[in-house]
Symmetry: C2
Subunit: 305 residues, 2 copies
């Protein structure tokens, strides 16, 4: 799956992931109003409106980008109806040929991580059948438990030829509170990065490992250092656009040949229609605005290489 | 909710949480067979069998313990049907007067943590209504993102009078890989513990804060140090029983007066019928065996005070 991601980025000349992180505040009003009319003020109405929104976005961008990254929290907030739409979104994206990165940031002790790995990447035995729960291609994983919380994910990835992205240096303002703490003259996120590279050795694709890293674009100097430090680890880079990072910032997460990373944008694309720049599209044209924003992002990133 | 937990522990003389972490391997065979007959080899059959199992356990222990802790990963592995049973389990436990600790270990950047907080502890606005997604009383939270990944949980807890338990020192073997690293002569988990106490100051109950900590019983010396270090933080203590910690080990997580912590046991209780000690109950008597195991655990813990 990491090879497929690398290849598709090259084919489409788009190291871009579209973050499918819908909230009701982002949705064009008519979508929710229509569903409320039909289903009342219910979780089901909200979930269905989000599904309609996602479908519009996916149809509009699926020929432009290699991958999408639904953030499960945005669906979990609507309980079971929300998570059903998370699953429907995964299935639809895969139908459309997109690689799906489930942004779930799971992680626990070994036996529990095993259950998460099975649920999101693997298959569960029921009688004589092997069935999938969510079936993403990649998921994000939290490293706080250390090696034995990560190993089950690697085991399932090996079997399924899927991958994970482990949190190394996150994009948020207080990420340094623990991640930047100095341990024997190295920072915690560097210790995590070392481990990510070590875990990844057992699971190499053609150039990059199936075990990738999440590196926030809001810390470009650190991204550059990490890029040199763990050259065979593929980077998933959030925080371009709405979170403030520029094309120049994200460039630091790439090798000089322009490979080795994929950049996520969520609100900057899916809520593009709300920006002055794309206002001509209007609420009804939210999907076309998203397509335009992807094309713009593609050009913007290409301009720095 | 932290006051209610403290009071119920006292009333029942049981600082005990039953971990509802069912797997198909733990389930008595007849439960799954019956459901497969009716629903085929499907996720729905597995989920329904788990629901029947949970209901049996809950009915058998609900008058003995203050709280249960369903581990969401065990449900997530069965996709949407599994998560529907997670929700049904939460609702049923609350009906039975049990406090529900959702063991979800969520955590992300602020806006995403907000969505998790709403989904698990709070309410989401849909039109003019405020609706709950999962509605646990407490959840567990991962601290890797630092303060701004935790604040949204605290905001929702304040509004809903609910609580969180933040991972500090986890029970697994490799927990020390990052958590024990030394930073200015203190260990990472101690730095996290300091922050947990600081976060908790804004949200104090009568004696303990609504912001608690997860402290694995497999590291009793560390538990004792932490107990002294952050006296107003309530501890959720996993790893008694199946993971190897004894009553003497868990004692270290308590204050001398026997308060300040609650001990989880999962497999040790829900799979008690598989132990030689409880074999007289047989597969059909799995719930009675669980009740017996709770009574035994209660006595075992009381014996060290």
């Amino acid at each position: 799956m990491i090879n497929k991601l690398v290849d598709r980025i090259k084919e489409l000349e788009a190291p871009i992931v579209v973050g499918l992180d819908p909230t009701l505040a982002i949705l064009p009003k008519h979508l929710l109003e229509r569903e409320i009319k039909e289903r009342g003020e219910t979780l089901e109405a909200a979930a269905e409106a989000i599904w309609q929104f996602n479908k519009g976005i996916i149809d509009a961008v699926c020929d432009l980008v290699p991958a999408v990254k639904p953030q499960v929290a945005m669906y979990e907030q609507f309980g079971i109806p929300g998570l059903s739409v998370f699953k429907r979104t995964i299935d639809y994206c895969k139908e459309k040929g997109l690689i799906v990165i489930g942004d779930v940031k799971r992680g626990d002790i070994g036996s529990t991580s095993e259950a998460y790995a099975i649920g999101h990447l693997g298959k569960v035995h029921i009688g004589n059948k092997m069935l999938s729960g969510f079936d993403e291609d990649f998921i994000t994983v939290n490293p706080y438990f250390g090696t034995d919380g990560i190993k089950p994910f690697i085991g399932v990835c090996k079997k399924e030829k899927k991958g994970i992205f482990v949190l190394v240096k996150t994009s948020n303002e207080s990420s340094g509170e623990f991640q930047d703490q100095e341990i024997n003259e190295r920072r915690l996120y560097e210790c995590v990065a070392d481990k990510v590279a070590e875990w990844g050795e057992a699971l190499m694709g053609h150039t990059y490992s199936y075990v990738g890293a999440v590196i926030g674009a809001t810390y470009p100097r650190m991204a550059r250092e990490l890029r040199g430090m763990i050259p065979n680890t593929f980077f998933l880079v959030p925080a371009y656009g709405a979170q403030g990072a520029t094309a120049k910032d994200v460039k630091e997460a790439f090798h000089k040949d322009g490979t080795g990373a994929v950049v996520n944008s969520s609100r900057g694309i899916i809520a593009a229609y709300k920006q002055q720049k794309y206002q001509e599209f209007g609420e009804e044209g939210f999907a076309d605005a998203a397509r335009e924003a992807v094309l713009h992002m593609k050009k913007d990133i290409a301009s720095v290489f």
